[in-house]
Symmetry: C2
């Protein structure tokens, strides 16, 4: 009785969802509820709601389900009694990891590490991964400048004061979304709903390319558009540096998600990295939404052929665990510097380990490439035909 | 073969921990590693390391293990096949919760809600719980001031500008620790290791009482000390308000943890709340470390007998899930306002539901009170005898 095709039986939201929404509405804001889900019945790409409607799910929990619902190999992980103690004894991973932790990191995360990056640290979500990455960049920036910290820096920072808390900034892009904690919000530039009423820092925001489609017909125009944005990146860095608000890092999504599904060329990103190198700015690629295989490579930025690895790559969502890969230079030098209670959750890494195997065993990256190309070329055709229609 | 008493067989860290630390050191900073743990063998209050040393664990994963290791009732939760699909299909809870979600919130979280609070929203850790709570307070503060937002506010905030991003602040205390994301760091005042090199906002920091012990012998002095701190709270609010950096909220831990295990009297906290009410400042109690029962009540602040509930109470650690309770006034009015991909993790709430039952079934709160009183009075005696010794 597995659902094999979409089957809509009620209005959506259906009567059961409506009743449950009312119930939940007494407890919390329910404005974002689409429907309540029967997760036991959902399977693969089909999500089944509590009113028994079966829908083709292309949204997959805000792009956070890597292998579809109820993948049998994930069931196997849960049935393995060796894994049980991980689920009921959540460790403080930074202090008391289990014996199998280094191997798990190796198999789940280093086996798919972006080229050139061999350090990885887990976190629990995309926001804390980005927040910690900012901190890595701030510290590495200061370290380059001054070497060992002074006593004055150590004392002043406890009360939010200079020189211990320097006026450093991270450069983001217009249309970018990097999370909803206060550090991440400084470089998030999407909708008021994410930002209004909250104090923000004066961090720079550069233009992100708005390409024209079809790409083949707008080559020159798109080149100019990207050049304009690169010029803006350069200008923003110079402007802020000149004002003593030094740009320590630049963060960019390979494909803007929340900001409107905006892409740029591989060359654009290579140029951004080159500007960063020139200006002493660390280059942070936020693969929270793009990482995990849905672009045909585990990391979208692998498709850019960068001459050097990014300084830091963050991930979460379909990777099941949050975290970051970083270069030697960015790795924290002191204990407890990049730290929190849990430092991620080993149960998510257990599932990730299996996911990585499934991707390999079932050759899913090639499948993504073939299916993606099919979808894209047919969308192109639809677009052309639609143009004729109008 | 369950460990029944401490049993130390090797130096700590032992040889197996040393070998694993070296291995992990190639992947990440290991400066905080104490030892690697055998979680299958650990039981109750006894933690067993990979070198087979058995230790009495009074640190319990930075105070995040509520019922000791491998509690049989947690094993039962995992064996219940009805729970399985929660573990392998992590939902975006704000959009697509499962049918049992409202009941789970009811049983796990509302059944133990602080008096007067009936709204609860889950988050994934203490830091995001606090960050979201700040945002609730900022919005409620602005709402009181202006009612509906203007178009100018909606547009300006996207680029971090006023009036959409007003210059609001949260008042914290000296010695406070509230997390390591950038919002939380603004009100964290502990050690340089948490803060140095990171830009911070100019948010106020008030003195927290440093009481003298034994309390019975220092009544007058401690009263004065608390009065001094209350005066400082009042002064900091007035000072910042006068500078146009309006104090929207005040955050306080019931017992400072990271800052040195500092307590204050119930009266102190009642007075702090009274000052907040007088000044139109929201009162945020951070129970991330104190919540969950280890003080003899589920929430430490229940012992203050506040005349009004706090405006927001955050939790995590021993509560297994992060989240916040909030008053009607603080509840977000718009969809997607307080939101992120996962909005917590239902598998943690499954375990919490069971934990709440165990606390009740086994009468654990009384046990904490009796054991806590025993420990405290004997520590007092030790202190007196030690004084004589010197
Ligand atoms: S900030 Fe990432 S889990 Fe809380």
């Amino acid at each position: 009785n597995e659902p094999k095709k979409p089957d809509v039986k009620t209005a959506i939201p259906g009567p059961k969802t409506l009743a449950l929404t009312e119930k939940l509405g007494k407890i919390q804001n329910t404005g974002a509820i689409n429907f309540f889900v029967n997760y036991e019945k959902s399977i693969g790409n089909y999500i089944v709601d509590v009113d028994d409607n079966v829908l083709l799910d292309v949204f997959t929990q805000i792009s956070s389900i890597p292998l579809g619902y109820n993948h049998p190999r994930f069931h196997d992980v849960m049935k393995n009694s060796q894994n049980l103690s991980h689920f009921i004894n959540r460790p403080a991973l930074g202090i008391f990891p289990s014996a199998d932790w280094p191997d798990k990191l190796e198999r789940a995360l280093l086996s798919i590490a972006p080229k050139g990056l061999k350090h990885v640290t887990t976190m629990a979500c995309g926001a804390c991964s980005n927040e910690q990455a900012f901190k890595l960049m701030f510290t590495a920036y200061q370290r380059r400048k001054r070497g060992e910290p002074t006593e004055e820096e150590k004392e002043s920072c406890v009360y939010n004061k200079e020189p211990g808390c320097p006026d450093l900034v991270i450069l983001g892009f217009d249309g970018a979304f990097h999370g909803r904690s206060m550090g991440c919000l400084n470089v998030t530039h999407t909708k008021w709903i994410h930002k209004m009423d909250y104090p923000h820092m004066d961090w720079p925001c550069a233009a992100f390319p708005k390409l024209k489609y079809p790409l083949e017909e707008n080559v020159e125009e798109n080149k100019q558009e990207e050049a304009r944005c690169l010029e803006d990146v350069r200008r923003k860095i110079d402007e802020y540096n000149a004002r003593g608000k030094f740009v320590a890092g630049l963060i960019v999504e390979p494909i803007q998600g929340e900001g409107g599904d905006n892409s740029a060329s591989a060359d654009f990103f290579c140029q951004v990295q080159a500007i960063c190198k020139e200006k002493g700015v660390f280059f942070h690629v936020d693969e929270v939404q793009t990482g995990g295989g849905s672009t045909g490579t585990i990391w979208q930025h692998e498709q850019w052929n960068l001459p050097h690895p990014p300084d830091v790559v963050t991930f979460s969502k379909k990777m099941l665990t949050g975290g970051f890969y970083a270069t030697d230079e960015l790795l924290p030098r002191e204990a407890y510097r990049i730290f929190n209670t849990w430092m991620g959750d080993p149960t998510k890494v257990l599932l990730l380990e299996e996911m990585v195997k499934v991707i390999k065993d079932e050759n899913l990256l090639s499948q993504v490439k073939v299916t993606g190309e099919y979808l894209r070329s047919n969308l192109n055709e639809l677009q052309v035909n639609l143009d004729k229609l109008w």
